[in-house]
């Protein structure tokens, strides 16, 4: 077993051991039966014809139904674990990760950037939003038991709660070309004070939202998307997370994926009442820039606010970063977190 360093690891390992036991049971059972029959019923004379048995309906039903029930149990357990992994956590620390042949780039909400390393606070829920600039990669931390493909042209997300301080492997698990085996890195989980110290010392640029605002202006997005509904495009202020009515009558939630799609393929889901006149920005913006613009759009407040959005309010997700874990300096326990993923440790 690799180290258990996330809130998923314990249940995963229990499940794994259960299946190992099951496999051992059936493999030894079938092999033993075969070997016993083999010896007991070995051919004793060339002309021997054993008594013929056509089959037995009760036995057939037994070994259809019992494996089926076992299989359904395994399915349910696996699905439960998967559900936890795929249910977006609340108030998580949001980090943006880009895969690129052959490196990992991470961007923290306060503007810290890292390459092939990712510093995380102990006991805090962390949500990664990821995309790739070239081919498909997969972000894999064995100690956390999580893996998510990083696909060009779309966002994928994953989340976890680190439950142990230390340094863990980060691997690229989806074959991505020549240096695939070199696309590895380190996950550094630190307790509150160490993490804060790292945050202060890490190279820092503008926060993603600030940078996003810069691009929002330099790409002239603000010419149409004004703060009031007066622009040629719909106002984006305070809209993040709300439902948007579309031209075709359906509604869509304004989330990262929708904003990204609208920047790169504006015609796909146009907002009701606004003609499709926006050109695509495909090829003009990198994935990281798109992510920054999204952070900016997330950060801008309600429509009635003053004309210029406040950069100060830029990254609400980032500020309280590791505070909940403040009181837990040791490695094994963590603050109880989201529904359904209570840490099993005592």
């Amino acid at each position: 077993m690799p180290e258990q360093a996330s809130s998923f690891a314990l249940e995963y390992d229990l499940f794994y051991l259960f299946l190992i036991a099951l496999t051992t049971f059936f493999t030894i059972g079938i092999s033993a039966a075969a070997v016993i029959f083999l010896i007991k019923y070995r051919r004793r004379s060339q002309g021997e014809v054993p008594e013929q048995i056509e089959g037995d309906m009760r036995l057939e039903i037994t070994w259809t139904v019992i494996p089926f029930l076992i299989a359904m149990f395994i399915f349910a357990w696996g699905a439960k674990l998967y559900y936890q992994m795929y249910t977006d956590p609340k108030d998580a620390l949001e980090i943006f990760v880009t895969g690129k042949q052959w490196m990992w780039r991470a961007q923290h909400p306060d503007g810290q950037r890292e390459i092939n390393e990712l510093h995380l606070p102990l006991g805090r829920r962390v949500k990664l939003t990821m995309t790739s600039e070239d081919v498909i990669h997969a972000f894999y931390i064995p100690a956390f038991r999580t893996k998510t493909d990083v696909v060009p042209g779309r966002y994928t997300t994953t989340w976890f709660t680190p439950t142990r301080t230390g340094t863990f492997h980060l691997f690229c698990a989806e074959y991505c070309g020549t240096q695939h085996s070199g696309m590895i890195g380190k996950i550094v989980v630190q307790d509150y004070s160490d993490y804060q110290a790292w945050l202060r010392g890490a190279p820092k640029e503008m926060t993603p939202a600030e940078a996003g605002q810069k691009f929002f202006t330099s790409l002239a997005c603000n010419n149409c998307h004004k703060d009031q509904d007066a622009g040629r495009g719909p106002s984006l202020a305070g809209q993040f997370g709300s439902d948007v009515k579309l031209e075709n009558g359906s509604t869509v939630k304004m989330d990262e994926a929708y904003i990204r799609e609208s920047i790169l393929n504006p015609g796909a889901k146009t907002v009701l009442g606004y003609p499709h006149i926006m050109p695509t920005f495909q090829g003009q913006v990198t994935e990281e820039q798109v992510a920054m613009i999204i952070q900016y759009i997330k950060s801008i407040g309600p429509k009635q606010n003053e004309a210029v959005a406040k950069p100060a309010a830029a990254a609400p997700a980032g500020q309280p970063a590791a505070k909940p874990a403040a009181a837990q300096p040791t490695g094994t326990t963590a603050k109880p977190v989201a529904q359904g993923e209570q840490p099993k440790q005592n």
Partner: protein
């Protein structure tokens, strides 16, 4: 080879009877057509997914296609299916002359289809609408302009159009080859009342290729048209 004294004209050595041979041919062709359905199936899947992703590209793109030529081709193919069916009928009757006539007619209609398709393709390529990197040069202004913001979606529609109709055209070319072979065989008097399964089996293939087009035409050419009273 003395045991082949009771040799039947057209019966291959490994079959017991004509019935068995004919059945094998028919079952074989039906299974082959299943294969073909799956072959096109991959592209229909791509069509479904991309049409959902780029509805406006499919709407706009279908207007780029020439419905008159496409419609003509649809009629041509339907008629060719009829002539093919007639050819099968006369092969069963053992009427060599009429068989030849209808096979030739089917071939002519098939070639007409390919000719019209050629005209359509060359117009598209000439307009810079072949979606390969080297040839993609859509008009951004003028009468047939494609608005810049729609070009990517139209690009997706057009490669689906070329891939699907191209695969269909390849099947038509194969079909024409089969027809030529049948005509030569019929000319040499190979087919009799008792032995005509090649015509029948080829007929199945021809109808299949026809049916594929019946699906392609509305999906590609008519997507942008609304015939319902409330449509626009």
């Amino acid at each position: 080879m003395a045991e082949h004294a009771t040799h039947v004209e057209g019966l291959a050595h490994h079959f017991v009877s004509m019935e068995q041979q004919k059945e094998a041919g028919m079952v074989g062709m039906w299974i082959f057509l299943l294969t073909e359905i799956m072959f096109f199936g991959g592209l229909f899947l791509a069509y479904t997914i991309y049409r959902t992703t780029y509805p406006e590209g499919f709407l706009f793109g279908s207007h780029l296609l020439n419905v008159k030529l496409g419609g003509t081709n649809t009629v041509v193919l339907i008629v060719s299916s009829l002539t093919m069916a007639m050819a099968v009928y006369y092969s069963q009757k053992g009427d060599r002359k009429k068989l030849l006539a209808f096979l030739a007619l089917t071939l002519i209609l098939g070639l007409a289809f390919l000719g019209i398709k050629y005209v359509e393709y060359s117009t598209k390529i000439h307009d810079g609408l072949f979606p390969a990197a080297a040839t993609w040069n859509p008009p951004s202004e003028g009468e047939h302009a494609i608005p810049v913001e729609k070009q990517q979606a139209v690009h997706v529609f057009l490669w689906i159009y070329f891939l699907m109709t191209g695969l269909h055209a390849v099947h038509m070319i194969v079909g024409a080859g089969i027809l030529i072979t049948l005509i030569i065989m019929a000319q040499r008097g190979k087919f009799t009342k008792n032995y005509n399964s090649p015509v029948e089996i080829s007929g199945l293939y021809w109808h299949f290729v026809d049916i594929v087009w019946i699906f392609l035409f509305p999906l590609l050419y008519l997507t942008g048209y609304h015939f319902t009273p409330g449509g626009h």
